[in-house]
Structures are given as C-alpha cells and as structure tokens.
C-alpha cells in the first residue's frame, strides 16, 4: 500500500481536503457551534505541550492515518531544525512535555540525539511509538532499553485487543508484532507497577463510528491483554478518527462521510470543546513551521500569527495571544467525551 501522496491522489492536497470539508455536505459551521458555546474566538491557555512531528516516514501504512505516513514519505526533520526546537524549549520553560510523533519518529536518523538533548533541558518526553518499529529492524530492537534509559513515556496505538480489527486498520501482521513489542516493553519494566515507566495505549475505531467510553474500554483491554498475552499497561487513550487525509478517503469511498459527520456534529460537547488540546499545545512540523495541532499541520493550516509561524521566528507573546485556527474537521475533537492526543477530555 502506498501513501496518497505517492499515488498522486487528489486528497494528498490539503486544500482539496478543506474544500470537501467545507462544501461536500451542507453542515453547520464549527465556528458557529463554538460561538454558541461562548468559545469563539478560541484562545490558548498556558502552553505546556510541545509536539514535534519529526517526519512522515513510517514502516506502516495505516488506513486511517491522518499524516498519510509510510515508507515512501521522505519528509524528515533535519538536525538543524531540531536545534531550533531546542532553542525554543530552552527559552520557554512552560513547555513541560515534549511529544515526539511522526510517522515513526524512531526512523529519523537524529531521533536518539534529539531525545538526549531534550533530556538535558530536563523535560518530560512522550514518544508515539507504533510498536512494530521495535521489531522492524535489528537496529531498533534496543528501543525499549533506550526509552527506559531516558525515562520516556511510551504512547502506542493498538486499535483493538484482537488481531482481526487491528490488522484491518494497520496492515497484516501488525497485531502479532505489536503484541511481541508490548511484551518486550513489559520485560524492561514499561507498564509494570512500581517502575514509573509509563506505557499508555491508544484505541481508535476501526471503521466509521465513534469510540466507546474510555474507562469501560480500558478495563476490557487490561483484562484481555493480561489474560491472553500477559501484557500490562497504564492507561488507554480513546481517540476519535479525524475526517482528514486517509480516513477522509475511507469515509468518502465507503459512503460513510455524510453519516459520520452527522454523528460528530450530533455529539458536539461544549465541555469537550473548552478542553481541546490545541489550547495548551504547539505542533511543530518536520520543516519547522508551527501549527495549533497535528491535524491542522496535515491540513497546512499554520498558526494565525503572522511573522511568528516558524521556529526561526518564534515569539512566545505572539503564540500566547493568537487565535486558534478552526475548521470543520475540529468536530472530531469535540464529539462525546472529546478527543485529544491524550484521549478523552470531558
């Protein structure tokens, strides 16, 4: 399977995606919903999370991927851009958590150097590890040990605790390798009580439906993974699929776009809307541009502060005072209990 970009698919163009979201179906405007909730314009709170997309290269090609990541994507953050990240972090201590994502972030050749440099600034690091990368090549087999040495919090997608649903979304063989990788992480102490090594899993629906209750599903995951594979983990984050990129393609091709958008809109929750992750997060693209979130990044919607939309001209005051850029895809973060990179928000 290739990325939309490699296929020269129309949806590889962010502008085309936005056009579909705005015009494919006559939907109430997200900005009107936010206005009714007293949340327009939406401003940031205290910046706490510095999320860095270190590249779109990945060993997997998942059907729902909002990044359109895959082995054929060559966009990778350079060491020079990582150094710009480090400068911004050194000057902005309010960023307590550095969230490294991709693609498979570990495939960036400077990933380990970047992690070591961030640790020197005494920050908490999250790595969004797809699990299978640990087994993809011998050079990655020691990742669990590397994560442990740097006290990294590992957040990993496991769409379900059964092979069938996981492989349908993430590709054949992914479930089996994910289970092996989770066992390797458990072996070094991740997810085990008393170690302090956090291993959190991410559920996202394998289809055109919304996620169930985070708390109830976490219990099922814990029971099933322990009983069947002797695997332990800390928390389950339940995430709603965003109607962009490959998931948007799936919705359109399967004829589910209209009903899925209706579901998101009917489930709009003002409490979730007040707690959306873009309020305390800055998302950095592989080329150093700044966005309100990873989804806006993939739609090429840069932060709304002219003159400060890149690491090289970062202005903490401009970032703090900006208006967050909203569009129709934002319904994905405000449905039901809400959705963020850390799961439900309401």
């Amino acid at each position: 399977m290739k990325s939309l970009k490699a296929l020269q698919h129309a949806l590889a163009d962010a502008g085309h995606q936005i056009d579909i979201l705005e015009h494919e179906k006559d939907l109430p405007l997200f900005t009107d919903k936010m206005k009714q909730a007293g949340l327009l314009p939406l401003h940031p709170t205290q910046p706490e999370i510095f999320q860095v997309n270190v590249g779109k290269m990945c060993n997997q090609v998942c059907k729902h991927c909002h990044v359109d990541a895959g082995p054929d994507r060559k966009e990778i953050m350079t060491k020079e851009t990582m150094m710009l990240c480090l400068d911004v972090l050194a000057n902005n201590p309010s960023f307590k958590t550095i969230d490294l994502t991709g693609g498979a972030p570990e495939m960036n050749p400077d990933f380990r150097w970047f992690v070591s440099e961030i640790k020197k600034l005494n920050r908490h690091i999250i790595v969004r590890c797809n699990l299978t990368i640990i087994l993809a090549n011998k050079k990655y087999h020691d990742l669990p040990e590397f994560f442990k040495q740097h006290a990294i919090e590992v957040v990993s997608s496991l769409p379900f605790y059964t092979q069938d649903r996981t492989d349908r979304q993430r590709g054949n063989g992914v479930f089996e390798d994910s289970i092996k990788a989770l066992q390797m992480l458990n072996t070094v102490g991740y997810g085990m009580e008393g170690t302090g090594l956090l291993l959190n899993l991410v559920y996202n629906p394998a289809g055109a439906f919304l996620p169930p209750s985070q708390l109830a599903l976490e219990k099922e995951y814990k029971d099933a993974l322990l009983e069947r594979y002797n695997i332990q983990f800390n928390q389950l984050y339940v995430i709603t699929n965003m109607p962009i990129s490959r998931y948007l393609d799936y919705l359109l091709v399967s004829g589910n776009y209209s009903s899925y958008m209706d579901k998101l809109i009917q489930a709009f929750n003002p409490v979730a809307a007040a707690n959306v992750m873009c309020r305390n997060t800055i998302s950095v693209g592989w080329d150093g541009y700044l966005y309100d979130c990873d989804f806006n990044q993939m739609l090429d919607l840069k932060v709304g502060c002219s003159g400060s939309d890149h690491l090289s001209n970062y202005s903490s005051s401009a970032i703090s005072e900006r208006e967050i850029i909203l569009n129709q895809h934002c319904y994905g973060c405000t449905a039901g209990s809400g959705s963020s990179c850390g799961g439900a928000v309401a």
């Binding site: 379900f160 059964t162 069938d164 649903r165 629906p205 289809g207 439906f209 919304l210 996620p211 169930p212 209750s213 109830a216 599903l217 099922e220 209706d262």
Partner: protein, 111 residues
Amino acid sequence: MANHYYNAEDLGKFGAIGEYQKEMADKFFAWYGEVFKDSALSAREKSLIALAVAHAVQCPYCIDAYSSDAYEKGWSESQMMEAVHVASAIKGGAALVHGVQMMNKVKSIAM
C-alpha cells in the same frame, strides 16, 4: 407523505415523538437512558442483548442502531451473529413448541 413504511432517516427523528405527547416521551427517554447505563449488567452487555432483541422484534431501526452500538462497544462480528442466532433460536423454538399444543388438540379429537 412517504410511499414506504420504513425510512432510515426516521430513526434520527425518534426524539420528536414528544411533539404529540411530551410528558410520556420524556418519561420514556429518561427510563430508556437509565436502562442502558452500566449497572448490574454493563452497558456493553446490554448492547448485545438489545441487538438480539432487535432481531426478535424485527425492528429495522433498532437493528441499525444496535449493530453500530454493539460493534462500537467491541463485540466481534461472530459474537454479534451468535447473539442473532440466540434470538432466532428462541423465536423458532417459540413457534415449534406450539407444536405440542397442536399435538394435544389432534390427540383429543382423533379416534
């Protein structure tokens, strides 16, 4: 006026039944919501029961709603189909067990 009896979009209008009798509709929806909460049975278990009952009562709206709900709550395709078989077995059995009544009647009138 539609020229057919069932329309998938009507499911989304269920809440509007209160337009003609609000008090009873409000009570029904409050009770309905309470029934499906986690309690002695989990919401997940209740969803699978609802799916089976939906088939037994042959309600297309309920089948749509609880096929999605049960799948969302993590039941697999084979588990859902087994639940439908349970409903079907009870319906089939309910018809067949009346065969005893037929036999009783025949035996009472036959020489």
